[in-house]
Symmetry: D2
Subunit: 308 residues, 4 copies
């Protein structure tokens, strides 16, 4: 039952939540999916994130998904998204999942926050609520939350709360923010683990600027694994070659709203889950889109073959 | 165990949720508060609304507040707010509170909705989720949700879903929307009950335009009761006289964010709850604001005395 | 040709822009309107604000409205709204109106700003653009701009730019911000003039908390004049009596979007402008709304009579 | 002096506006830049768009940039962006640029629009203002405007206004919208030209779904030219090969806010403009970002070489 720390590195895959076609939880697929992610080289998982359809689950279902995932993940770390409109719900879910053995919890700011002070106060309230012994991932994803956190504000929050051990970095543009955090660290501020989201679309640059890995759900986790591994070995050109081969599909998958349909389609195709079904409301992938995705996959395979 | 219908009328007070100073639920105050509202003439209550600090409660607490309120309200109707980011949570809470004897549930649209079709689809999903036998109140409150529902869109939704029996009207400006709904009804569209929110700030005009009453939490429910009663009797000038006496405080209470602190201060002062405490995060009423409120109350009492 | 300063006080009426029914500028009404405002006791005017339909004017028309207003205002100060999406347009219009004799310019932040640093940088760019010798009014109106400026951020901006001599205060809730600015001043920060907007709806409290007057366009400027005069004389109860008499109409006029139709209707009725016409797009006042306004005016006159 | 029509096709490059390092207009670079774009195969230009820093120009400058560009473009079509907060400004600039010989004007909706009816009314007002003889491009770019236009709403607008001859398509996700428009056309609705923006990031799929070309400013216009040409010839795989070679840089350039700095850096490097300077406020490209861009260009050239 490992906890994430400021030194956590590697690839934490943002897991989907498998559903049956009737919208019920597909419990059977959870094991298959967990195995798939770890077989492809994941170092950990993050469940119940935005792309995990978390808000569509009842609280009981959230806890069950956590229990099932943790059981199958054995000693690998699993972070659980606990973002909610209110602190009480965050506190309740955090306690439940940490008791079950989660490695930490992830919290994105509610979209009502505007000023720096509001953002700082929000995370103070979160830490007061979950307690200082629970490792927290701060999710910085303005495209989705519309909350803009400057590097300065982020550093203030990190200074105040040592239990925020990781940043899920997906500001856009956000490369400078990684540089700011690492330069601050070089000048004596404390270290924080930075795992990058944003569908992986800037992973080569992010790794070179000092990120510790990826936390995103692109349905070819081997892409993130390879890019991180090669980057850590200083083989930046090779990392970029791999990345480039996947980029056309990655770009297609990054479409807001539609992206999850692409992701689940590919995961089902690869056998990681039984069906691409999303719980309602969810955008379905039309016939033309399926053809587009299939063609991108075919081209991707050709390119990867050529790289061997 | 009465249900709300398209013919529901009168004053449904938006109840606060009483907390102790340490942020725990003040169960003992629930009875006092329920008695207070009905003593002042309320026809029903609405709990777990935005001003009921609903998002700050755990699900278990939400259900307990509902149980306590329903028990004390005897056969009076109690509507329960069930708005949530996801349909599953809405469905789960709806089932729980209807089983306990709620008169109906209230649902505001999530702030991500933009186009007419998105709003229409959302309420279709909500009705599919809660079932067509649960009376639903559609809360139309753009200032808070940022979702703008035109009269045309609202009428489409009402046409499609007979179980939406009531609109909590708090668009701003929104007087024309009441007129639109009533004109549509005169031309053969089905009737819907319209209870008005927005802190009561347009109640005299709303009643004259065809509203059926008020659903708001101004801490002098007797204001809403008197304005509705006098309006229904055609005594519009007397209604406006009463309204005008309360208006300076009503205006002060309508300040977003701060309003709940004013409301709870007055309710505590009037003995309806033990303390004005809000669960975190909540704006406290500073010393100057307390003086301002006290002065407004003092003037209000003088004016009401003069009206007798 | 007086300039506004940090000591400016009193009532600056937000002027409407008179149009003919065909949407062309009603040049003839400008003189009548200016005379009306000053006859009712205004100390100055503010033109080309949001309620002055400024974005509907061409640049040439903006300059002509300024020229006509300044000419008729003789030596009374006239502030000109110069908010625009870009700095170049702000700079160009500022130069033009200051050359014509304006007393200062007013700038609201563009709605894209989010973080404290973005807001601070914006006003630095504005001052760089207009030059440090032009007196600037910072308009703080989050309901319209969606930009939230904390007291701390506002004080940083005021510290950095002495030429920002005035704040048009219309945050909501915003009473604490006035207190914050005055407490900072008591502790040695420099003084700034605070004139209050928000349709005048909190004017009595604002004056008691240290505001210097009003900058809003309620079509009975004598209300603002009387409330300010009585407040300055320490006669707060008398000020509140006057305020209360106007409050029902003020509340009605504060409806976003619709408010300007109410304002122009009353101004036309009082002879200040020839017709309530707005340039397209503009909400018209329907027949029912006209009856509501007329009734509120009638009641208002009865109440004012009773106060004499 | 050609006008755009519903049959317009090809690549209209979104032109930047060249500035000197002191922020003044770099008139001399306009000719160079126009020549560059047409040398690379552009069929037309679009100036004064969002990426043309249009809001940073005074009206006089906007007209001068138009005049200079039109003069150098000879008989090639040049569309001019005329989006503005108010209709009068749109009308004034439209008249000026059409008199100078523009091929049409482009209008994006103001970010205050929410409901379908508001969007429809807005374009009715625009067409009333500019007149039905001016060809209009409707810019559909929700990521920037936050206005969401459904296919149904878009078709209503196109039905009502034949002078809207072109859609600048940059919804995200938006591929289905192209399909919707073309399916409607197949069923008898009138044709509209669809040129795609969004930094070109979906151009291969867009062309296959029936788009007529590209309208975006990626600083290698030859990419758009080749992808359009090959797609029109049915050589989709070749088109995608070209596209893929440019995609890593395209993705980097698509970063909101920062993208223009990348674009101008590359254009200056390629000799199309004298310097990458933006008028204030504008994000500069830091040293690390420059290295990242340079590396992407180097890799891009290697890949293009390999495709020959």
């Amino acid at each position: 039952m490992s906890l994430i720390t400021t030194d956590s590195k590697g690839v934490f895959v943002i897991a989907v939540t498998p559903f049956n076609d009737d919208g019920s939880l597909d419990r059977a697929s959870v094991d298959k999916m967990v195995d798939f992610y770890f077989d492809k080289g994941a170092d950990g998982l993050t469940i119940l994130g935005m792309m995990g359809e978390a808000p569509k689950l009842t609280q009981a279902e959230s806890i069950e998904v956590t229990r099932l995932t943790l059981k199958r993940s054995a000693d690998k770390p699993v972070v659980v998204g606990v973002s909610a409109p209110g602190l009480a719900a965050i506190g309740e879910l955090t306690k439940a999942v940490m008791d079950l053995g989660a490695a930490g919890v992830m919290v994105a700011p509610p979209s009502s926050l505007r000023t720096d002070d509001q953002i700082i106060a929000y995370y103070r309230n979160v830490i007061d609520t979950v307690g200082t012994d629970v490792p927290v991932v701060l999710q910085d994803f303005p495209l989705s939350t519309s909350v803009q956190i400057t590097s300065k504000t982020l550093l203030s929050i990190l200074d105040a709360h040592p239990s925020i051990v990781m940043v899920k970095h997906e500001d856009w543009p956000g490369l400078q923010k990684i540089t700011d955090l690492r330069e601050a660290e070089a000048k004596g501020r404390r270290r924080v683990s930075i795992l990058c989201g944003n569908a992986g679309i800037f992973l080569p640059e992010e790794m070179q600027r000092g990120a510790d890995g990826a936390m995103t759900g692109f349905p070819y986790p081997e892409m993130m694994v390879d890019v991180c591994r090669l980057s850590n070995a200083g083989r930046y050109d090779d990392a970029q070659d791999i990345f480039d081969a996947y980029l056309p599909l990655m770009r297609y998958e990054q479409q807001p709203g539609l992206g999850l349909a692409v992701r689940k389609y590919v995961l089902a195709k690869r056998g990681a889950i039984a069906t691409p079904a999303q719980r309602r409301p969810g955008a379905a992938l039309g016939a033309i889109a399926v053809r587009e995705v299939e063609k991108l996959i075919e081209r991707q395979e050709r390119k990867l073959e050529a790289l061997k």
